[in-house]
Amino acid sequence: MNMLAWLLLTPVASACVLAMVRSLHAAGWMNVTASLVTLVASVLLAIQVAGSGEIVSAYFLIDAFNVYLIVLTSFVGLTTAIFSRPYMAYVHETGMTDTRGLRLYHAMYQAFMFTMLLALTTDNIGVLWVAVEGATLATVLLVSLYRTPEAIEAAWKYFILCGVGIALALFGTVLLYFAAQHSDGWSDASLAWSELYQHSAGLEPVVTSLAFVFLLVGYGTKVGLVPMHQWLPDAHSEGPTPMSAVLSGLLLNVALYAIVRIKMLVDGSMAGTGTPQLAGWLLMGFGLTSFLVASLFLHRQRDIKRMFSYSSIEHMGLMTFAFGLGGPLATFGALLHMLVHSLTKSAIFVTVGHAAHIAGTQNIDNIRGLIRTQPAVGWGLLLGVAAIAGFPPFGVFTSEFLLLTATMDSQPWFTVALLSGLAIAFAGLFRHLHPMVYGVAPEGQVPVPANMIPVAIHLLIVLVLGFAIPDVLAGWIDRATLLITGAHWL
């Protein structure tokens, strides 16, 4: 409980303080320090949970499923903070934003971390909604930080689409509450997830399935599921790069986490009906559509950040599909994929941020010869894309392999769709990647101050996970799998 307080209060306190710190230098370091404290707290919390199984209090629930996401979130939060310190200083030097904008940036960065952690730790699905909506509010001003017309448009789209989507999720939440109030033998119904889960068999299936549709559309907008994905490429491409990294690496995960939690409730309530797999089928449909559409859209992108945001949609689609498929193997794969995708994608966005500074543009056609100008960035981009495209020996390969095996087991025909989607995405990524890394560098292209350590750490972890998953981590994910599907995989 103590660690939990540290975990949640550190970002809040630092957001308040950072809103007032004028010195850019100090603010950058404070941001890193706060993220470090959060990470330490989350690791200690994880150790606590590993010992005691799970922590349930009045408003919070920490179990195997969310604790690994909590650690992941604070870890990516820290590495992105490390990256963003010199990056934002560089942005400030180029005059794209003023000191006030940077103060806003740092405060909102921590506020965003807080909403993410709150969404993950809370036991109450109403508070979960409030936190996810809060995450939109915290990031929406950051997307328009540069105040260009494009940035404002992207932010407006992000605001409106996510706002509306999340409103539908609230309607779904109300319906779930309604179902809880009308279930048999539960007099003091609440919105606590753990209690809802206990009583899920008694929830009226018609109402919960209706609620699930609303919740799926609502949180699905945040995940970036097609056709509610319109905001995602815009927000990623126009916002500052650290923002893109945390949006892709964390926000999408948290929204998917919310959907999976809800699915567990709905599955419990639908178990006795004629269509126990309804929620799963819906997830599979949305997931597969997003996966295929996004991999096709990858080909026609000209903006490098837009391209990688479509890649995010593609991977989120894959995970959604896997969670829909259900079963221990698919769920294990999806959880692992969540982890490796977050690490790889945030590493890629960090690299892309440097690449865009080297070339002075985000236009793919004008980014050339990175490996000659600045080998570290070039190699980072090359390895990052290789990892995200699912090359062995990176961890993404492992998780995708597990997912394909699971699909082959239960729904063999979908394997074809998945494989062709992966191939299309692979082609799309490498088609653009090759000239960017190996092409002829334009005259006068010079290296920029870049901090590639976070990228290296992320990719190293992904690489290690590709060779062997440490027992601790495997055990963790397996416990989460047990929680979600009711069966061990290992």
Partner: protein, 229 residues
């Protein structure tokens, strides 16, 4: 079977107010004058507070009084006031926006009402208090708010649509579940307030950027996609 006649006058007033909330959603959809639309939105918020207060009285739910006051302060007074001030600051008081394809818009709106009625039928069949029939109205208000956002080009109107979606959600919570737990409700109210402040910031930024609040002119990102084909 007619149930309305079995209800007390207080409960009938709730139904009347709910019907008026729905009517005001239609007004938001068709009203070309910005200030009149803001006023309609404020009335919607006021009616919502009235409904909440009456439901609280009928069902003797103390915590609903708090949310009634919260709604009154936020939806009926504060947000309309902020919008009003912003329109004056941006000199939009005389802004007129003709609704394109008015008849089509209204027909779709009526269809949306029918659709939401059909959608919530299974819920109505559950054993519920006298507010059960309002659930359909609340979903209709949500969908109509969405429709407002789709059919209107001007940013302030879009925000009105957005906020009326929130109104619909609140009505749903009041009518189906006698409100949400207080923590959640406070959180939602906070989110709505912050959203309104951010909307204000965005109005100014959009206005500075394209010298208009016509959101249809925010189409650069879309065009760039067209180019790349």
């Amino acid at each position: 079977m007619n149930v309305a006649s079995e209800l007390s006058l207080l409960q009938q007033t709730v139904l009347i107010a709910a019907a008026l909330v729905l009517f005001l959603s239609f007004v938001l959809l068709a009203q070309p004058r910005l200030l009149a639309a803001i006023r309609a939105f404020a009335w919607q918020g006021g009616l919502l507070a009235l409904i909440t207060g009456l439901v609280a009285t009928v069902n003797a739910e103390a915590h609903l009084f708090v949310s009634a006051l919260l709604t009154l302060a936020l939806k009926a007074i504060l947000i309309p006031w902020m919008l009003h001030r912003l329109t004056r600051r941006l000199e939009l008081e005389r802004h007129l926006e003709a609704v394109k394809h008015a008849a089509f818009v209204q027909i779709v709106a009526v269809a949306l009402v029918l659709f939401s009625y059909w959608l919530v039928l299974p819920i109505i069949q559950q054993d519920l208090g006298f507010t059960r029939n309002i659930v359909a109205v609340s979903l209709a208000v949500v969908l109509l708010g969405l429709w407002v956002m789709i059919t209107r080009q001007q940013a302030v109107f879009q925000v009105l649509g957005f906020m009326s979606i929130e109104n619909g959600l609140f009505l749903a919570a009041v009518s189906a579940t006698e409100g949400m737990p207080l923590v959640v409700e406070l959180g939602i109210a906070f989110d709505v307030l912050v959203a309104m402040v951010l909307f204000g910031v965005f109005f100014l930024r959009i206005h500075n950027s394209i010298d208009s609040l016509d959101v249809d002119r925010l189409n650069r990102l879309h065009e760039r996609l067209e180019d790349s084909r």
